[in-house]
């Protein structure tokens, strides 16, 4: 098994290095432009993680290696170019085949993800960014509410830095920045959807509750063809009024999360993930009150599809209200403490619906940095509607200026059909080594 894994890892590392060389060639293609470059910023980060399940069977949960490379080239003109990609290999799927069968074993053992690939023009009031990028809306922490533009990588439940889990997508991002009033317009050329956990992974949708194992096949669409009908658009107005950060947003798009539709074909059940169009209107707020900061988000999702099961997996349409209220106390980079309440309320319900009409999430998070820059992080998310909880604990120990050691644990608790308790078997602990390499050259 070890020999097989080493061979697999070597193959994937070679693929990553090949991509790196191609990106370098891309940079050489821009050589005539690079002659007028002023600043070249490079970042090369690596992560290696080894983890085990804490719930029987206490076997390997993760043996992952990642390489991420990012460049930003700023030219003398108002133009800049951003490029980046991440390559990863998950050895646990390859070596722990008894726990991780196909399709997760074949689909998620390795991945190369294109991140930034954009050209940006920034001058005066105008910022125009064209290409693969991230756009982040909202004020909440820990979970994605108004942060709805980019799809997310939920193959690992979305745990980890929010920036890391967002998937870059191609779009036109136009901003008019009047300092205290900013107008932003987005046009997404080609919609992309969340990367959802494949069947067999720790966090896959529990299809086995509805269909006997081996009697169904599953396919989730990840994108759609480029066309006017599949384009997405929206905008945001961000005023700062008397020290209060406000934003008002609208986005017309395809739901990043799928609803699952099952159908019978030739005696086999076929399940496919479907992403339906909806629109979202919302407002966010951030306001300092003495040493605290108040954050709030309200969203209205219109014509959103929700899953139900009535002999077959299907969906129905309803509007949904989302409200988030949080308070933070932050002391620079030393320590922070925050609490957040979130409420999802669906206006309609139908028989067989899989999710309750009203769900809540109470999140408490804290971070403490003490001597030698050691950092302790804790996040506890509690779902009062079903009594389940998720606890993420981590301890970061800098080993040098460029190497960190992370010791962490993710604990899923609750009833077997609850939001977090469903994934109780995925409860795990792991250690992780991160390296940070980078440079900034001024030409």
């Amino acid at each position: 098994m070890t020999k097989e894994y080493v061979l697999l890892f070597s193959q994937k590392l070679s693929l990553a290095l090949e991509l790196l060389s191609r990106l370098t060639q891309l940079g050489l293609f821009f050589l005539p432009f690079s002659l007028s470059a002023v600043v070249v910023q490079s970042q090369i980060n690596t992560q290696s993680r080894l983890g085990y399940h804490l719930v029987a069977p206490t076997d390997l949960s993760s043996h992952r290696h990642e390489l991420e490379i990012n460049h930003v080239i700023k030219f003398q003109s108002p133009w800049s170019l951003g490029t980046g990609f991440r390559a990863l290999v998950e050895g646990a799927y390859a070596t722990n085949s008894s726990r991780y069968p196909d399709p997760v074993r074949t689909r998620d053992t390795q991945d190369v993800i294109l991140r930034d690939l954009y050209l940006q023009y920034k001058s005066g009031l105008t910022t125009l960014t064209f290409g693969n990028q991230q756009v982040v809306w909202g004020e909440a922490f820990g979970f994605y509410y108004a942060d709805l533009i980019n799809p997310k990588d939920f193959r690992d439940f979305g745990i980890g830095p929010l920036e890391r889990n967002r998937l870059h997508i191609p779009m036109i991002n136009f901003k008019l920045n009047f300092t205290d009033n900013v107008f932003q317009f987005l046009y997404v050329i080609k919609p992309f959807f969340n990367k959802t956990p494949n069947i067999g992974s720790d966090f896959s949708f529990p299809f086995n509750r509805f269909f006997a194992p081996g009697t169904f096949s599953f396919n989730d669409e990840r994108t759609q063809d480029i066309s006017w009908k599949s384009a997405e658009y929206g905008g945001r107005f961000t005023p700062n009024i008397s020290g209060i950060d406000l934003s008002f947003l609208y986005f017309n798009y395809f739901d990043r999360a799928p609803v699952y539709i099952s159908s019978l074909s030739s005696g086999q059940t076929e399940i496919r993930g479907k992403h339906n169009r909806l629109e979202t209107l919302g407002a966010t707020l951030s306001l300092p009150i003495s040493t605290l900061v108040l954050r709030a988000e309200t969203l209205l999702h219109r014509h959103k599809h929700f899953n139900k099961f009535s002999g077959a997996l299907n969906s129905f349409i309803s509007d949904q209200f989302v409200g988030v209220l949080g308070m933070d106390y932050i002391v620079g980079d030393r320590w922070r403490l925050g609490v957040q309440l979130g409420e999802n309320y669906r206006f309609r319900t139908e028989e067989g619906v899989l999710e309750k009409a009203s769900t809540q999430l109470i999140t408490v998070h804290g971070s403490l940095t003490f001597f030698h820059d050691r950092t302790f992080d804790l996040l506890v998310a509690y779902a009062p509607h079903d009594g389940s909880s998720l606890t993420e604990i981590s301890y970061t120990l800098p080993l040098s200026k460029r190497i960190d050691l992370l010791i962490a644990s993710d604990l899923f608790n609750g009833g077997s059909s609850s939001q977090f308790g469903l994934y109780h078997p995925a409860t795990r602990a792991y250690i992780q080594i991160k390296t940070y390499l980078g440079s900034e050259s001024r030409l």
Partner: protein, 246 residues
């Protein structure tokens, strides 16, 4: 004595009187304004500052920042080192503060009093002028390390500053700051600072080092070294929250 031979004496006396009158005419506010100029250039500029934090429990820690400043109301502080913190930004706009963290990729509102690192506060890096935030009063003259200094009491003119009260020693000869004490509203000494390393920066001699010591824990210290000052021209939009993620 005839009037002709007494002329040089009268001239010297008149000169002395003129000089003294000029000095006496210099208001405390003008003194700290000149001291501000000995700390930072006027107008829009950028500079690097290396902050070295030391305490009795750990080895020294270095952080390098690039500071962009348009005026006393607009400053942007970018973290350049260590590598794990590169990309962090702190925007100070009038009395509002935002932090940008690369692992969130969005600006987050923070309180103005929050500390940035060690003994250095956001206000220490982002704010550049005492003359706009404080009202000065001349207390006395003292000699510090062989230099005759004005000793001034600075009282905050609004509550959105990092320190409500400052005692400030400014050299009488060249208006270069020599020493500073920062106090809380209660009158408790929070920390003290010593300016040094005067060098020519953008056509004027300015201090390029500030050593800040924790008044309660004397072994906790931050050394700020300023370098690479450059004149700049910034759009107002450069200092907006929405530009942090660009």
């Amino acid at each position: 004595m005839n009037s002709f031979s007494a002329f040089p004496r009268y001239a010297i006396l008149a000169l002395i009187l003129v000089i003294n009158f000029s000095e006496a005419a210099l208001s405390p506010q003008e003194i700290i304004k000149r001291a501000d100029q000995a700390r930072y250039p006027e107008g829009q500029f950028s500079f690097f500052v290396k902050v070295t934090d030391k305490d009795e429990f750990s080895d020294s820690k270095e952080t390098v920042y690039l500071v962009h400043t348009k005026d006393t109301n607009n400053s942007l502080v970018e973290t350049k080192a260590p590598e794990r913190m590169r990309g962090r930004k702190l925007l100070m706009k009038q009395h509002d503060l935002w932090m940008f963290l690369p692992n969130l990729k969005k600006p987050t509102r923070v309180g103005f009093e929050q500390r940035l690192t060690g003994e250095v506060s956001n206000g220490d890096l982002a704010r550049t002028n005492f003359s706009t935030d404080y009202k000065a009063k001349l207390i006395s003259e003292e000699t510090i390390e062989g230099k005759t200094c004005y000793k001034l009491l600075l009282t905050a003119t609004h509550k959105e500053v990092a320190y409500r009260r400052i005692v400030y020693w400014v050299s009488k000869t060249d208006f270069v700051p020599v020493q500073v004490n920062f106090y809380a509203l209660s009158g408790k000494l929070l920390k003290s600072g010593k300016y040094s390393n005067v060098k020519p920066v953008l056509n004027k001699n300015r201090v390029t080092q500030l050593v800040i010591t924790d008044a309660l824990k004397g072994k906790k210290q931050s050394v700020l070294n300023y370098f690479n000052f450059k004149k700049a021209s910034y759009d107002d939009s450069f200092f907006s929250k929405e530009s942090l993620s660009d």
